[in-house]
Amino acid sequence: MQLDSRTPHGPIEKLWDQARFEMKLVNPANKRKHTIIVVGSGLAGASAASTLGGLGYNVKCFCFQDSPRRAHSIAAQGGINAAKNYHGDGDSVFRLFYDTVKGGDFRSREANVYRLAQISVNIIDQCVAQGVPFAREYGGTLANRSFGGAQVSRTFYARGQTGQQLLLGAYQALEEQVNAGRVQMFPRTEMLDLVVIDGKARGIVTRNLVTGKVESHVAEAVVLGTGGYGNVYYLSTNAKGSNCTAIWRAHKHGAAFGNPCFTQIHPTCIPVSGHYQSKLTLMSESLRNDGRIWVPKKQWDKRPPNQIPENERDYYLERRYPSFGNLVPRDVASRNAKAVCDEGRGVGETGLGVYLDFSDAIQQFGIDVIRERYGNLFEMYQRITDEDPYQVPMRIYPAIHYTMGGLWVDYYLMTTIPGLFAIGEANFSDHGANRLGASALMQGLSDGYFILPYTVGDYIAKHKFEPVDASHAEIARAEAEVAERVQRLLSIKGQHTVDSFHRRLGKIMWDDCGMSRTARGLESAIEQIRELREQYWKDVNVAGSADDLNQSLEKAGRVADFFELAELICIDAMHRNESCGGHFREEYQTPDGEAQRNDEEFSYVAAWEYAGADQPPVLHREPLAFEYVHPSARSYK
């Protein structure tokens, strides 16, 4: 396997313009002769499918939910970054690029990140033009707020529902193309395998989630916008349906998986309340703009928060990081929360929680201003916990939220399988070892609206495609394999449900491959995962049959894939003997407990190649060179 990022050469600010000129174009009259499959209808998938349809390609878009508008991008709360510098506070494309590379702890490809920062300004324009109701200042211009890891105010938002509004913009554009007959939408249809013919991605095998029918779809290019794999931990802020199946199947066909162990833990989520907990609810990072994070100075202090006087409160982020305070990046905030809870100073019944306190902000700005900024988030919190954040501090605890890792892609967003592209959270690229807040929305739309439509066209223009139809041997084989696996899962009829296995897998991952990792813990995790996986295939009980709507069966296939990915994540974490971003190895830390990177030995992207069932994966390294942002110790003090 050869890793060639195909990054153009030259001054970084000209690379993308240069690339766009050099890419080949498909004649407008010919576009409709080409079929492109887009799997996933979130920000990346919907923006890609609608743009490709608008350009004239024949597009087929797939999602497993009942409607493309359910994609989990919808839940993103806080905002989207762009280097507009509307506030004149020092922002610029270069600064956004710099902040993102640094925030990613120097483990991303500079050229990709620069392009992302460059395109960010176009994204805002596109969304405004689509009617996204961004917050406005009194003068009518777009409002901004600050987010973690940045000292400028560059985040655009729509109340606490930015993800929803951006997704609706893309979804509406997608439906416009459906109406025009250029995009065929297949909801309630799950991709269960990739079809590779003559070394090129030529289609997918799907299962209709209502009828159970397995069928194939052929195309000249396949695009995966299938989101992240946080649900490998069972409890995460992802939707229940979020899964890794599409990218995992692609990986097994030869798509290298980049940096799987770079998983992000978000510092401000509502703590777990019981064993039946089905997922963790995110409280937007934007709350850290105005909330102050603290725990009692004393251990095991169970007094209600309003009875703990100021001088007995430890505002630990403000204390340890004077210049960024409560707005340190997510990995720093999460590790600090874990550290104070491990010391016995955590709050709430379980002791796994810290306070996010708005009393000072309410006093300073007045309750109406706070309600306007965060109203719906406060309501959401109150509904779930029955506590009123206007009266008592919020309790929060870190939870798995995002995955920086994903399918390896080159500068053109193509994986190591020609014709297979990966966009949005599904790919590994721009965020390095830690994603800054408000940049996921930015990346999904950047990939879908402004990069992929060019790069897919370039790929199609440069290749000849043999016609493939349903009778092709590879298609028949892939369909049979999918059908066989479905039957196998149904036939086991063991003693334990899919969810019970999923929970156990999640616990192993959280305990030994979560916020803090050790070589010994990871080795143990790998062993436990292998054992549990074997048990799964002997003992899982999947209800119902294959020929109708069967949610137990849907989950079963996804969890089977999570087992395999979990092992790869641990293997990757074990091999990377350094701490960077979201990957913290206890053996590699500075005397004051900060992550210690090893740039000499680990300044590369770990791209893993699947080598067969029960074979160790093969590591390929893409070396990373930093010419514009010089790697430094990532300090937010």
């Binding site: 743009t51 508008r69 359910r70 919808i74 839940a75 109701p133 406005r136 909801p187 939707a239 509904r383």
Partner: protein, 232 residues
Amino acid sequence: MVRYEANDVNPDMSTLEVLDVLNEELIVKGEEPIAFEHDCREGICGACGFMINGVAHGPLPATTVCQLTMRHFKDGDELYLEPWRAKAFPLIKDLIVDRSAFDRIIAAGGYITIPPGSAPDGNVMPIPKELADRAMDAAACIGCGACVAACPNASASLFTGAKIAHLGLMPQGQPERHHRALAMVRQFNAENFGTCTNIGECEAVCPKEIKLEVIARMNRDYLAGSWSRRAR
């Protein structure tokens, strides 16, 4: 109606978590679990939704079933769960219905036509804060269908009105404003939703608190579009 008993229910559990636990028991017993639609479990994706004792999304205002905790019920309570009932939402299985009619209404006109790359700078058109806020209020619709389920006419007016209001309030939405209303209402009629007779059940159950005034805007834009006859 099938009767199930849920034991050891913790008051902090959501209705869906109660169903999860119940389903686990059913699977282990070899029975078919209850099929229900859900995804985000935080009240924003709009996937979940069913009637609880005759009220769409249950007794708490501005709350979806995934956000409704058992704190609002008492030990021994009986909960009657039914899917959304509407001709335009054919039943698929148990509590799951087909809401693709909503997607078709959006496809008919619930968008602003703007190919990527052609947009002017975001600040070129200042939008008064009050207008942006009102558009945001209408844009908050999650497409869950509670409005249709609650309405005795099974009308999709609140849903359709919300999108028409969101886009029609903003300057960007003006060029297509009349066409949008005509096309979306036409589609809504083609889907066999009922018409609006100003009952107001929809607003009462809407988890995002969309206001009836969006229906007034829809009617106004539709009327204006019909009269102008210049709309497509």
